[in-house]
């Protein structure tokens, strides 16, 4: 109970920091804090495997990718580090619109009775919560993923492959294609000539 509210405050504060930070690097740090708090929230919700992949995939892979891109783009041109900073005039009516939307959502949520079954955790058909092999454990998740949800899992693999191909096409080597052996020979010849020139680079 206490844990939820502490984590909620951390998540809200870091989300606001992420959106309002001037430099993208600070946004990444705020997002890291947000994701860590979210992983802890997953733990309180008995979603152990989700907490682990949240840390590994988001904090470990995606945020490092963001950091690399920031470092790459900042290296050549100076102005990028500060980032575009001006707030367009249209931002204010849009912000008002967002606040109205948020107020409406809060009002609707307050009026809605959210239906959840009256399950006592200890009386669930899956067994007592918190012990191995029951709801939220890695075994439970894996069984569901590889039996009932095998096709979505395979489609996930396809999506990742499409993403990899797309990234290589977009940001990969921009030189025209040449057969591998010839290009290797070219590189070797250039290195030989560079050495013969006398190592002035």
């Amino acid at each position: 109970m206490i844990a939820f509210y502490v984590l909620a405050v951390v998540m809200l504060a870091s989300a606001v920091w992420c959106v309002t930070a001037k430099k993208p690097v600070y946004s990444v740090v705020a997002l890291l804090l947000h994701f860590t708090a979210l992983a802890a929230t997953y733990l309180t919700l008995n979603a152990e495997f989700l907490a682990v992949i949240q840390l590994i995939v988001y904090s470990g892979a995606i945020l490092v990718l963001f950091l690399f891109v920031i470092a790459l783009l900042s290296s050549g041109v100076a102005p990028f580090a500060a980032g575009p900073n001006k707030l367009p005039r249209i931002a204010y009516p849009l912000g008002l619109f967002g606040l109205i939307g948020l107020g409406f959502l809060t009002w609707a949520l307050a009026r809605t009775a959210i239906v959840t079954p009256a399950v006592s955790p200890n009386a669930s058909p899956l067994g007592p919560v918190g012990t191995a092999g029951v709801f939220g454990s890695v075994g439970d998740f894996g069984t569901a993923l590889f039996t009932a949800n095998l096709l979505p899992f395979e489609i996930t693999a396809l999506i990742l492959m499409v993403a990899v191909i797309g990234v290589v096409l977009l940001a990969g080597d921009q030189t025209p294609y040449s057969p591998t052996k010839r290009r290797a020979d070219d590189v070797r010849r250039e290195m030989r000539e560079a050495i013969l020139r006398g190592g002035d680079q």
Binding site: L12, P24, L31, L38, A61, L94, T156
Partner: protein, 104 residues
Amino acid sequence: MNAMAVPIANYVGLSAVIFFIGLAGVVVRRNPLIMLMSIELMFNAANLLFAAFARAWLHNAGHIFVFLVITVAAAEAAIGLAIVVTVFRTAKTVDVDDVALMKG
């Protein structure tokens, strides 16, 4: 500890507020990197809701869905960052207002 001592409405409210913060980030900020990070915020707000309802119903379909969303988010981040790098190579700017190549 009984996690459902926290009523589900609190998770719904927290998720809604984080989603709107992310939406505001996408709409207001002009830096594509911060816009991408705001999109990640929105993904995670939805994920939190999936996990909370999975816990409320004691059914792990929500966990499976979070797994799929994380995969799609990873693919989206990779493609988005590749596009940012490509645009920066050609346009030499990262202000999305200055990138108007496809404007009619």
